[in-house]
């Protein structure tokens, strides 16, 4: 049985008809055409499907779209503002924070979520936070470096 739900995705309101079992990741990709969010493991481990639900990190592969009816969702497509990339996105480009790229949207969303709650994390805090985002190319050093550098010139990562 379909339900009508409202999601505010990257600032735009959408009214969508979904069956109860529709996962948020599928709703974003297939109902809204926002294919930046990737599905990796489908069991909440890999982090590729990371989006923000009301500002908090979520695994969209374990979230029922209808259960977050009314929520504000931020996906990788929503990070750039007025054609300018988010500092985390820019930093991943500047510092080679990706190889094949499949995990990148999830990495960037997780890093943004970290800087939202902790604008000046230590390297250890970054490692602990990011441990739930796997990179099968194993480009972890560059990902870490990208996040450290994204903290900005005024705030360097505390050692």
């Amino acid at each position: 049985m379909n339900q009508s739900i409202n999601l505010k995705v990257n600032g735009t309101n959408h009214e969508i008809e979904v069956p109860a079992q529709r996962l948020l990741v599928d709703c974003l990709r297939y109902d809204l055409g926002l294919t930046g969010t990737k599905e990796g493991c489908s069991v909440g481990v890999c982090g590729a499907c990371t989006v923000l639900v009301n500002g908090e990190m979520s695994a969209s592969c374990l979230t029922l779209a209808a259960a977050v009816d009314g929520a504000e969702i931020t996906t990788i497509e929503g990070l750039a503002q007025d054609g300018r990339l988010h500092p985390v996105q820019q930093s991943f480009i500047d510092h080679g924070g990706f190889q094949c790229g499949i995990c990148t949207p999830g990495q960037v969303m997780a890093a943004k979520a970290l800087l939202d709650v902790n604008p000046n994390p230590t390297e250890q805090e970054i490692r602990e936070w990011m441990m739930g985002n796997l990179c099968r190319c194993t480009g972890y050093y560059k990902i870490l470096e990208s996040i450290v550098k994204a903290i900005g010139p005024t705030q360097e990562a505390r050692k």
Binding site: A20, Q21, V45, A59, A67, E128, G132
Partner: protein, 291 residues
């Protein structure tokens, strides 16, 4: 994924009436991290899922008002909320630390305290620490409330004491005894985001002459539920906390654990590690008591 109908009641009363209407065919959902996974894998096939997300008043952490010192934690609190709460860090540091060990930050933001306890996977982190602190759970139904201790709540592999029509509404965790020290050790030989291979929580109170005045020890991931190691406690209680006595107490857990062979290690290996980590947890708890 199976097909089902989703209900999002706005109050506990509405949730109870939905539970009454759909009975065995209904499942309550909090964060959904366990239930959605089980539905994807067809391990759970409810016709009706009752989401508690809109039910208010169950996501508070507060000092208990009932006279006994401790914290009352609403069942819908996110596990990340408990892991980072200044109140929990100050009043019950063992609890904040234990929740910091659960999965990854993303799962902790989604998963609730209540869902985590009802799920009943013996490898979960919170139960050993909650047993060691003597926590109790409040189950509420349309006809009233009942309180169950953490250890009695755990019945078997994925089986917990939630009766038809009941919802876990909050947990109460008493403050650790004055002068005590506590530790939770999660043995992770594989990756940092894994479930424990063996986990041990210990709360120890050394008294005058280094005599053990009070001790609580519980283990996770080495049986069908978390295990309260009462034999080990009896060996220590009223005796000096010497290396020898601590070793004897730790050795005794090998007789009560019943681990499985799996990709985290053989049953024999886990049994050995249960002893080793019990010893380390007691020692760490004692070191923390000095602070």
């Amino acid at each position: 994924m199976i097909e089902f109908e989703l209900h999002s009641p706005n109050s506990l009363a509405e949730a109870f009436s939905l539970l009454e209407t759909y009975g065995e065919d209904a499942r309550v959902m909090a964060g959904g991290t366990a239930l959605v996974l089980q539905m994807k894998q067809r391990l759970a096939q409810p016709g009706h899922v009752i989401s508690l997300r809109r039910v208010g008043g169950l996501n508070r952490i507060e000092e208990s008002a009932n006279g006994s010192a401790g914290l009352k934690i609403g069942a819908l609190c996110a596990q990340q909320q408990v892991a980072t709460s200044p109140l929990v860090k100050t009043k019950l540091p063992l609890v904040a630390e234990t929740y910091q060990h659960v999965a990854t930050p993303r799962i902790r933001y989604m998963a609730s305290v209540g869902g985590g306890l009802v799920h009943g996977d013996p490898s979960q982190d919170p139960p050993p620490s909650l047993i060691a602190l003597g926590a109790s759970l409040t189950l509420t139904s349309a006809s009233g409330q009942r309180v169950v201790s953490m250890e009695d709540f755990l019945i078997d592999y994925y089986e917990t004491d939630v009766q038809p029509g009941e919802i876990l509404t909050d947990i109460f965790i008493p403050s650790a005894p004055a002068g005590s020290g506590a530790a939770y050790l999660k043995f992770l030989p594989r990756t940092a985001d894994d479930y424990a291979t063996v986990a041990v929580a210990a709360v120890v109170t050394p008294g005058p002459g280094n005599v053990c005045q009070d001790v609580r020890i519980a283990l996770g991931a080495v049986g069908t539920t978390a295990i309260h190691a009462t034999q080990a406690e009896e060996i220590l209680l009223g005796r000096p906390l010497t290396e020898e006595n601590i070793r004897a107490a730790s050795a005794s857990v090998k007789d009560v654990v019943d681990p499985l062979d799996d990709y985290r290690g053989s049953a024999d290996y886990k049994r050995e590690m249960a002893e080793v980590f019990t010893r380390r947890a007691i020692q760490q708890a004692l070191a923390n008591a000095g602070r």
